[in-house]
Amino acid sequence: MQSRVRDKIVRLMLLSAASTSILIVVLIFLFIGREAFPFVQQLGLGALFNDRWVPVSFEHESFGILPLLTGSLVVTFIAIVIAVPFGVLSAVYISEIASPREREILKPFIELLAGIPSVVIGFFGVVVLGPIIKVLFGLSSGLTALTGALLLALMAIPTIITIAEDAIRSVPMAFKQASIALGASKLQTIFRVTVPAAFSGIVAAVTLGVGRVIGETMAVLMVTGNAARITFNPLESVRTMTATIAAEMGEVAFGSIHYSALFVVGIILLLITFGLTMIAQRALRKYRRY
């Protein structure tokens, strides 16, 4: 009988531990919202739709988020355009083409890439990639949107590979056997049967990759040059939302309108990544049906 009671208590404890995750998510929204609220109250959300981010000024501060938004979008777009072919083809290679022994080496190696701290990748960007970009395009500075995008592509690739590989591998053997039996070659089977069957998993992989890229802070802070202006030229300096928070939070007075504005940027980031997570999970559930 006693063990029954203990069973109940343990169950309750485990349940409350599991509920903590929900609590943390609620607290994140609550506390970032709380610090962001003064901005909305005093200036209104309309103040965000402005093309000037000049948080410190003698005459007129301006908290237009558009340059930060376009900065993030430009960098993310280029990074993903580069990362998707590399990520998806590598996933195809590892799961379908590589020999088992090759796979045993390749997978951990790519996981190693995911383990390299973003600040180290950023440092590599500053001392190696930046100068290369500078010379290659004849610029005055190697700190550009493109430099940041290349580093971010590198950071999104392991995410894309891991999830896409999982999706491709979970396509039932019977699909492939049927295709081969009908006379298709291995290549045809991969690209006409296996990859389409794993498509929703690949979509999830790319979506999570986008989330990773848009939320990355240190590498972009170090190599994109941080000029808050609207541009779609990858060879110019840009400033992303994440870099803005990281760069300015250290110098801002707690409780000021600038401080609150940074939390507004944070909540926009939070909402974007939350949306991406939901899309990705939806796609993942689809492929797990097999």
């Binding site: 531990a17 943390i24 709380r34 390749l106 890439l113 500053v126 290549l187 939390f263």
Partner: protein
């Protein structure tokens, strides 16, 4: 020798193209690691590892940063590991497919997707200001714990799921309660896998910069923290400052590489350990 059919040959070409894509990534990873190690190893000496920084970081060692990073990552796991393990046990062994369970899973997925800088803002708002911990080791550990929680949950749950169902059924059939079954017949086999999760968590916490930037670090603090309420130095943040804020970059380059090297060795060492563990465990347990 008969010539290969045409289709076979063009197929081989495509496979080679795909292979090149893959090995290009491998090459880049290898090159980054090589560059850091090659240039970093020369900067390493006894004074650099055990000395305190001087001249605003432009000279001297990185000892307080090493200690700070170790304290941060260990403290993070102390908070996150029990919580993550219990959550995983609940999800894997107890949870039914109810609406509430789905909500828990959704929360974990959400946490996994939150950008690290947003965790920093959250930690600043909740731990530093609301709880009044200020910029401190404690606030940093708690913030990082929230961030690594999903990693620990997911790896621990995988470890539990890989224990065969028959282990549970046998124990339940003998009249053991659910908890007895879990504790005696499931957990012992899952612990090594959970260890892997905590190592990944430590390495992630050790390498992160953005969250501690807002909650825990001070750049120049040439002494060790005296209590958990003290701010600390940390390797990733130190590297960030050395690489972006100091004048005369050429002169501090060896210090930058040295710091990057120590950080990389610390983080990748932990990662390699988890890979080693996985390979060994797969050989040891085979059901």
């Amino acid at each position: 020798m008969t010539p290969k059919p045409k289709r076979k040959r063009s197929e081989a070409v495509y496979f080679w193209i795909i292979r090149i894509f893959n090995y290009f990534i491998v090459f880049i990873v290898g090159y980054i690691i090589f560059d850091i190690v090659w240039n970093g190893i020369g900067a390493i000496n006894w004074e650099f590892i055990t000395g305190i920084p001087r001249k605003g970081g432009a000279a001297g060692g990185i000892f307080p940063a090493i200690i700070g990073t170790i304290l941060l990552s260990v403290g993070t796991v102390v908070f996150a590991l029990p919580l993550g393990m219990f959550t995983a046990i609940y999800l894997s062994e107890y949870a039914k497919t109810s609406r509430f369970t789905r909500l828990i899973r959704m929360a974990i997925e959400t946490l996994a997707g939150v950008p690290s800088i947003v965790f920093g803002l959250f930690g600043l708002g909740l731990f530093c200001l609301f709880f009044g911990f200020g910029q401190s080791l404690l606030a940093g550990c708690l913030t990082l714990a929230c961030m690594v929680l999903p990693i620990i949950i997911v790896t621990s749950e995988e470890a539990l799921k890989s224990v065969p169902q028959s282990f549970r059924e046998g124990s339940l059939a003998l009249g053991a309660t659910k908890w007895q079954t879990v504790r005696k017949n499931v957990l012992p086999y899952a612990v090594p896998g959970m260890l892997k999760g905590s190592l990944l968590g430590i390495s992630r916490a050790a390498g992160e910069t953005a969250p501690i930037l807002l909650t825990a670090v001070a750049y120049f603090l040439p002494r060790l923290p005296q209590s958990v309420y003290d701010p600390i130095m940390a390797l990733p943040y130190h590297l960030f400052i050395l690489a972006t804020q100091l004048p005369d970059q050429a002169k501090v380059r060896p210090l930058q590489y040295g710091t990057a090297f120590v950080l990389l060795i610390l983080v990748l060492g932990l990662n390699l350990l988890t890979i080693y563990l996985r390979v060994r465990l797969r050989k040891k347990y085979r059901w």
